[in-house]
Symmetry: C2
Subunit: 489 residues, 2 copies
Amino acid sequence: MQTQQQRRNWKLIIQQFDRAIGKKGVIRRKEELLTYECDGLASYRQRPALVVLPKTTEEVAAAVKICHDNDIPWVARGAGTGLSGGALPVEDCVLIVTARMNRILKVDLDNQQVVVQPGVINNWVTQTVSGAGFYYAPDPSSQIICSIGGNVAENSGGVHCLKYGVTTNHVLGVKVVVPDGSVVDFGGQIPEMPGYDLMGVFVGSEGTLGIATEITLRILKTPEAICVLLADFETIEAAGAAVAGVISAGIIPAGMEIMDNLSINAVEDVVATGCYPRDAGAILLVELDGLQVEVAAGKKRVAKICKEMGARSLTTASDSETRLKLWKGRKAAFAAAGHMSPNYFVQDGVIPRTKLAGVLKEIEALSERSGYAIANVFHAGDGNLHPLILYDESVEGAFEEVEKVGGEILTLCVQAGGSISGEHGIGADKNCYMPQMFNEVDLETMQYVREAFNEKGLANPGKLFPTPRTCGEAANAQKIAQMKSAQLF
Amino acid sequence: MQTQQQRRNWKLIIQQFDRAIGKKGVIRRKEELLTYECDGLASYRQRPALVVLPKTTEEVAAAVKICHDNDIPWVARGAGTGLSGGALPVEDCVLIVTARMNRILKVDLDNQQVVVQPGVINNWVTQTVSGAGFYYAPDPSSQIICSIGGNVAENSGGVHCLKYGVTTNHVLGVKVVVPDGSVVDFGGQIPEMPGYDLMGVFVGSEGTLGIATEITLRILKTPEAICVLLADFETIEAAGAAVAGVISAGIIPAGMEIMDNLSINAVEDVVATGCYPRDAGAILLVELDGLQVEVAAGKKRVAKICKEMGARSLTTASDSETRLKLWKGRKAAFAAAGHMSPNYFVQDGVIPRTKLAGVLKEIEALSERSGYAIANVFHAGDGNLHPLILYDESVEGAFEEVEKVGGEILTLCVQAGGSISGEHGIGADKNCYMPQMFNEVDLETMQYVREAFNEKGLANPGKLFPTPRTCGEAANAQKIAQMKSAQLF
C-alpha cells in the first residue's frame, strides 16, 4: 500500500519551493542532501527529502506554508551542532536550514540589545559589540560554530550560566513563523510584557512550535575585572563541599567547574597544561567577574573557603593569558576523552547542588558495577553533570550497555530531584526518558500546548515527547542497533 | 428566557462544595459575599454567587472539578490587592479564595528554596528566612498584605526588580490545578527543566490557566551592604540622563526611582521628610547593594555620574535608619497624591529606558492640553512609569476625561516600543488595550494556549484578553459609567 508520503508529487512541490525561495536556495540532489542527514548526535541518521535555505522571514513563512498545505513534515536546522538530535530530519521531510539568515539586523547599544537573524553564529554577537564594551553572555562550548537560532531552540547554556542564566534569560523577543505559516511576535524590546509569556515557551521548544526568524538579544557590559582560581583537592567530595561553601557564602561566581582525577590525567596527557596536579582527586575552577574591588574581595573569600574545605594548593590568574592557561584543560576535556578510550558517551543531567556528593558516589558505584570507567567533568555551580562513559564500540554489545549506564545516570538525576537534560536538550535522544520526569497529566498539558501551535503535527514530529513509535519496546531495539556513540562536541 | 446560569440548581451545587471543603469554607450569605465583590481596582464591582475557601490542593481540585462539571465560571483570589481587577468576580461565578492556604510548607536553606501555599503573604517569606541571612526579592508596594499566589498570577514587580527581576525570575516551580480539575507540576527544584516552559506561561497568566496551590520560591542571600543615594536635579530630563548614565556605566542598582516636582511637594506637604528639596525639578533615589567593597565603589561612581549630569546636591545613607528616611517620601508618594487632589488615577506603563526624556515631555504636553495635572513617580531604572493623573470625581465627566488621558499615556508607551503594563497586570482594566500591543495573530496564538488549558473558558473569563462584550463600543460606554477612580494602593 502506498503511503501518503509516496503519493506526494514532489516535482510539483519542488517547483513551489523554487518559486518561493529561488532555485539556489533549494537542495534536491541526493549527494548534497547527505550533508544534512544528521546533527551533532551523529549516531542517528535520516536523509531529508529536500533542504531549503530561506533568507528572510517571508521566505521561511512561504516554505512553512507549502509544507502546511501539502501535509509535509518539516524540521528546522541552525548550524547542526546540537547534541540531542533536535535537527535530525524525519522521514520524507523538508529541512529548513537557516544558514543563509546570517545578518545582524540592528545593534542598539543604548538599550543594550542586538537583533539578529537565526543563522548568526553565537560568537559573532560578542565580536560585534565587544569594541563598545559589551558581550553576549550564553556561551555553549560550541559557541564559535553554533547559531543563535539553534541556541534559542535548545535553550543553550554554557560555563557562565551559573551567574548569568541560560539563553531564555537573554532573549527579549522573537519573530516566529508558526506551523500554519503565520508570523507572530513573542516578547519585545522590554523584558516584561503582558499576556502569556509565549517567548518563554518558545525558547527551548526544540523546533516543535515554529521557527524563529528574528531574535532580539540582551547584551551585557563587559566586566571590569575577571579572575580565575584553580584549587585542587584530595577528593571530589571536598571539591563539591567547596562549591556549596562558596554559594552559601552568597558569592555567585561567573562559572564554577569540577574535573575529577580521570579527566585531569586525560587532559594532562593530551594538552599538558602543567597546572592540573595529576594526583588530585579533583580540581575546582572558579571564575569571578565584576568590578575590580568586587573581584578582589571575592577572590580572598573563595580562597579562604577552598582552604577551609581542604584545598591542597591554590593558583589565581587575573591577566587574560594566565586565565586562558587555567581554562585550557577544562575546554579540552571532551577532546581529551577521545584519547582515553576509542569511544565515549557523554551524558547531560542536572541535580540540585546539595546532592552533588551523593550522586557522584552513586555514579562511582555504577562505574564499578558496570565495568565502564566514567570521567566526571561538570558545571558544578549549577549541578549540571557531564559524565563521560568510556568504551570501545568494536566490542559487541558495548554501546548498548553504555547507553543503559547513561540511562541509569539520568534516573539518579531524576531521583535526586534534578533533570534529564541541563543544556543539550531532549530531541530524538532523550524523549523516551521524559516520563521519568513528568507524569501523564504534565505531558498531556504540554501536548495541548504543542497542538495549539502545531495542529497538524508537522513541525519536528517525534521530537521532545515520547511517542509509541520511538519509545515502544520493539522500536527501541531497532533504535539501539542504529545508534553509535556521538563523536562531535 | 432563562439563561443557563439561572437554571443552575445552586442548592445542589452548594451541597457539593460543602462536602468537598466543609461548611465553614463555603460563604453563601449575601452580606458576607459583599466583601468579595471587588479587588484593589475598586471601581469595578460584581458580587460572586458563592465564595469557597479551600485549605489544600485536593480541596482546590475538588472545587474546580465541581465548577467544571457544572459549567460554572470561577475566579481565583489571593489577598485581593491587585490593581487591574484580576480577582474581580464575574457574574454568577464561584470565587476560590486562597486566604486559608497560608502555610509555609518547607524551608530548604541549602538549596535556597522555600515552598509555600498561595495564601502566604509576600513579606512572611522574608520574615521566615531573614534570621538565616536570606530574603525573597520581589517586593511590590503591597508586600505586607499581598499574597504569593496573587504575585504569581500577576507576575508582580517592585522597587528591586531592576536588579533582581520580577516574580517569574524567583519562582522555580508551581503545583497547579488546571481548569478540568487535574493537578499538574510546572518547573521544579532546579532552574532549567526540559520540555515547554509552562511555568513561565503560568506566571503572569492572571488566573486564566488555573490556580497555583504550592509555589517553590528562590530566596537570595541578604546583601552584606546597602546604600541609598539621593540626588536632586533642576529638571526631570537631567535625572533621566543620570539614570541612563548609571546603566551605561555597567552599574545595576538594586533600585532607581525618580519623583518629579509635583510629587516632591505633595510628599513634603504630607510626610515632611525634609530631605527632598521642594524646588528640585526631580529627585533620583538610587539603592546599591552587594559586598561592602562593591557598594562603596558603586557609591563613588554613581555620585560622580550624578554630578556630571548636573545634580545640585547629593545625600547618601548607609545605615538603615537614614536609608528609611530617604525612602520615606517615595513610599508615601501614592498616599500623598490623595492630598493633592480629591481623586487620582494611577497609570502603569513601560517604555525603553532610553525613551524616558521624550515620553516624559509628551506626558507634560498631554497634561497641559487636557488641563489635568500629572505627577510622575516611577521605577526609572526599568522604564516603568506610574503617572498619577489628578482630578475631582465630583466634576461631571472628569473621570471619563481622565481615563482617556490614561489611555493616551498607554498609547505613548506602546509607540515608544514599551508596554501597557509594568506590574499591575491587565485583568479587567486594560484588556481593551491589548490590541495596541499585539496583532490579531499574536492574540489568536495566546487564545489557542488559553484553550489548551481552559477548554470550556470557565477560568477567569473575560480577563486579560479583549472580548467583544467588554471592549465593544456599546459596552464601553456602560463600563466607563460604572468606573470610578481606584482608591487602594
